[in-house]
């Protein structure tokens, strides 16, 4: 292939499906490395500290789309202290210096400032897509900058970010000349927006396919908008509370009737059950439905609606749906691929209307199910074994029994056998979260059978180091391992140190790892950053000694070419 002109080689590379393959071809020889790097358009950085931004920009000067992820997953649950890191600024600044052709930026769990957003907006003339997920540190002023300066903006997608509200001005900053919007999601913005500005923006965006409103947008505005967007495919409603008059209901129904292309529905903020029947006409065409922010809807409301959704592939609900509601889902939604059932009550000693029975019913009715997130208060081995047999196609299986360490509700046994069945039957399993009472045995099963597993989340499980060792030994494709409140210590940590270089990261909190163990790890593996995070907490009983050495509260280990980071706060020690 070296006899081909570069353009031909480049063209051949363009058929490579993913970054992984492109990384591989770039290792073949210097020529290929050069061709590949100059033609790379999409770059994915799974851990912002794994590589320096300057190096990425230097290597891929022609990149158009960049994705960067920051904090570890457990940051979602407040386990990572504020100010830990994950700053977007160095990435945006580096790109501004070396890569002005950038068009798309996706960031997850990062700290983004208004200054960075302004720099972004003003630097990249072809910028067209900004997707921020679970980020923080910016305000609506930053969004105003994006709206004002990104003349070709097609996508502004804000998912579950913490955004400081500085008024509705930002939405009015889209100039009249901006007609290119395809996707606008501001569901996480807390404040009001100007209805008139919103309607006008929608009216001049003929390509709009995805629109997710926030809680402040009233029904009448929604109706007016929908009348203008017959091609809308994805809608996040605004407020659907029960204040409105009959005419409003009728207008809403008429508006929905226009949206023949609608496939996905979410929002339902403060949704009143009375509004649901007006949505029934679109239900039959829906493939995605997110009702997980509507605690005001009860089981019968939900089931009446869902029974119409015969084409549903993705469903997110609250556990208010109850087991009997899940039975309706099972009989109505034969194409279901992804189900998430969230808790409406966060007390671990509380009570949930969904149990193992609901999940068994789903597994019987929805044979295509491949992705599950299920919060409940009880589970049994028998149920899990049944579920595993019914649904061998799981690629993601996350079960969260709310009470830590809770055994099988019928037999009082650990849930080892149940999860063992899951990993044995579901040969394509890539992501697994386990919970309930679990001994080292479950890890033996996981290590033995979960050969495709890439991400494993463990909480309050296991008896000894052997548990973690099973996983480290057996799960050949493991990329992310996150553990909390489990009895794994230095022996487990150090059993297979080379493996960490094949993984993106390891997180261990409230385990039995000591600082000495961490130091040993750091000294054996210079290509890893071993971050010891010890917060100062008056309630913290970390004075307890373990073999005479203080235990580490939180440990985050990740491979990196960047060396120790220089933006770490004082409670983070990088060994």
């Amino acid at each position: 292939m070296t006899y081909f002109p570069e353009e031909v080689v480049e063209h051949i590379f363009s058929f490579l499906p993913g970054q992984h393959d492109r990384n591989t071809v770039s290792l073949v020889c210097k020529v290929w490395y050069e061709i590949e790097r100059l033609s790379r358009r999409t770059v994915f950085v799974g851990n912002c500290y794994a590589v320096r931004p300057e190096r990425v920009v230097l290597r891929f000067p022609n990149m158009r789309a960049l994705t960067v992820k920051g904090k570890p997953h457990f940051a979602d649950f407040n386990l990572v202290p504020p100010d830990w890191g994950g700053y977007a600024a160095p990435w945006i600044e580096a790109a501004a210096r070396g890569c002005v052709g950038l068009e798309e930026l996706r960031m997850k769990r990062m700290v983004v400032t208004d200054e960075s957003l302004e720099l972004l907006a003003k630097t990249f003339p072809r910028f067209r897509a900004l997707i921020l997920i679970s980020c923080e540190g910016f305000s609506t002023d930053g969004l105003a900058a994006i709206a004002s300066h990104c003349k070709l903006l097609r996508e502004l997608d804000l998912q579950e970010n913490e955004v400081e509200d500085r008024g509705p001005r930002w939405l009015s900053c889209f100039p009249d000349s901006c007609t290119s919007l395809v996707s606008l999601n501001f569901a996480c913005i807390k404040g009001e927006v100007n209805a008139g500005s919103l309607e006008r923006l929608v009216a001049r965006s003929p390509n709009l396919r995805s629109l997710r409103l926030n809680r402040s947008v009233p029904v009448d505005t929604l109706s007016k908008i929908l009348m203008r967007t017959p091609n809308l495919e994805d809608l996040g409603t605004g407020n659907l509370a029960d204040d409105f008059q009959t005419e409003s209901y009728i207008r809403l129904a008429l508006a929905f009737d226009k949206c023949k292309m609608l496939r996905s529905l979410s929002g339902f903020w403060d949704a009143s059950p009375f509004c649901l029947p007006f949505i029934y006409p679109v239900c039959a065409q829906l493939t995605g439905l997110n009702l997980s922010y509507a605690p005001t809807l009860d089981s019968s409301d939900l089931t009446k609606m869902i029974s119409h959704c015969v084409k549903l592939q993705r469903l997110w609900v609250l556990d208010c749906i109850a087991d009997k509601g899940l039975q309706v889902v099972a009989s109505s939604c034969k194409d279901l691929q992804e189900l998430r059932v969230f808790p409406s009550d966060f007390y671990i000693a509380g009570y949930s209307p969904v149990t193992e029975e609901g999940l068994v019913a789903i597994s019987l009715g929805c044979q295509k199910l491949s992705s599950l997130l299920y919060f409940c208060h009880q589970m049994t081995n028998a149920a899990l074994i049944t579920i595993a047999k019914n649904c061998p196609n799981f690629t993601r299986f996350r079960l969260c029994i709310l009470e830590p360490g809770k055994p099988d509700a019928m037999t009082n046994q650990p849930l080892d056998e149940g999860f063992g069945a899951i990993v044995r039957e579901c040969k394509g399993l890539r992501r697994l979260s386990i919970s309930g009472l679990l001994t080292d045995k479950v890890f033996m099963y996981i290590g033995t059978y979960a050969k495709e597993l890439e991400m494993l989340s463990i909480a309050f499980a296991g008896d000894s180091d052997a548990g973690m060792m099973h996983v480290m030994k057996g799960c050949k494709n493991l990329r992310k391992l996150e553990i909390r409140d489990s009895p794994f210590g230095d022996a487990a940590l150090l059993e297979n140190v080379a493996k960490y270089e094949t993984m993106r990261s390891l997180w261990m909190s409230s385990c039995n790892v000591t600082e000495k163990g961490c130091q040993v790890l750091a000294s054996k593996m210079p290509m890893l950053n071993v971050e010891v995070i010890n917060e100062l907490d008056e309630n913290n009983e970390m004075d307890e000694n373990h073999g005479g050495l203080p235990k580490v509260d939180k440990l985050y280990v990740y491979r990196t070419t960047a060396g120790g980071r220089d933006d770490a706060p004082n409670f983070v020690k990088i060994l």
Partner: protein, 218 residues
């Protein structure tokens, strides 16, 4: 509090699993009492519990086997298995038993938690006006049950409305979403608020046998 109405059973308390709650209500209705709780004292207790629990376990295991057809969760007799019991000890190899609400547990994004908290504060509360009738009273009243946060507060609010409640034996009942008349106090408070459509205070002969005195909070 009103003994007859079993308000204690619906209290959100923190105690060991199987901690004395012998409510074994039917499963399918989804209206169960709280059977599992975690004791705040857990981490301070020394090891002695281990031996006793293990002996107790065998007895319980036999009993449980017989009860397989009924919901083990609701029978309140579930003890933890030995390996979990050992968590109670001061064995340094095992991490401490989790505190009542461990940080970052359950694993739900704060964004979601905050939204749900805000919505349940705002949403149901303002729209929970229900008609309240009292047997023998000529006029009905309206009460915002959303403004109460517990059965205790509801009881106090009713007492303020109907002063004769103090004297006679009366039983508060309510009509739920399915149209059934239920005894107030069986289900968790939140569930009651969302399913209660109207209240009726029963008095006299009809009230007998339904739970006795409707005692007011002192």
């Amino acid at each position: 509090m009103a003994e007859g109405l079993g308000f204690e059973e619906t209290e959100l308390r923190l105690g060991l699993p199987g901690g004395g709650n012998d409510d074994a209500s039917a499963r399918g209705s989804g209206k169960r009492g709280y059977a599992e709780t975690i004791d705040l004292k857990l981490k301070l207790e020394p090891a002695p519990a281990v031996g006793e629990d293990e002996v107790a376990n065998e007895g319980i295991a036999a009993a449980t086997a017989e009860q397989l057809s009924s919901s083990a969760a609701a029978d309140g007799k579930m003890k933890r298995s030995p390996s979990q019991t050992s968590v109670v000890t001061s064995d340094p190899e095992k991490p401490r038993a989790p505190k009542a609400q461990a940080v970052g547990w359950p694993p739900v994004r704060s964004f979601r938690k905050n939204i749900l908290a805000a919505q349940t504060e705002k949403g149901d509360r303002s729209a929970a006006l229900v008609k309240v009738s009292m047997d023998g009273a000529p006029y009905l009243r309206k009460l915002d049950i959303g403004a109460c946060n517990s059965y205790d507060e509801l009881s106090m609010a009713l007492e303020k409305m109907f002063s004769t409640m103090k004297e006679s034996s009366c039983v508060p009942t309510y009509e739920d979403k399915d149209g059934d008349w239920m005894l107030v106090g069986d289900v968790p408070w939140e569930m009651f608020v969302s399913s209660c459509k109207r209240l009726r205070i029963m008095k006299g002969s009809e009230a007998i046998g339904l739970g006795g005195k409707c005692k007011i909070v002192s």
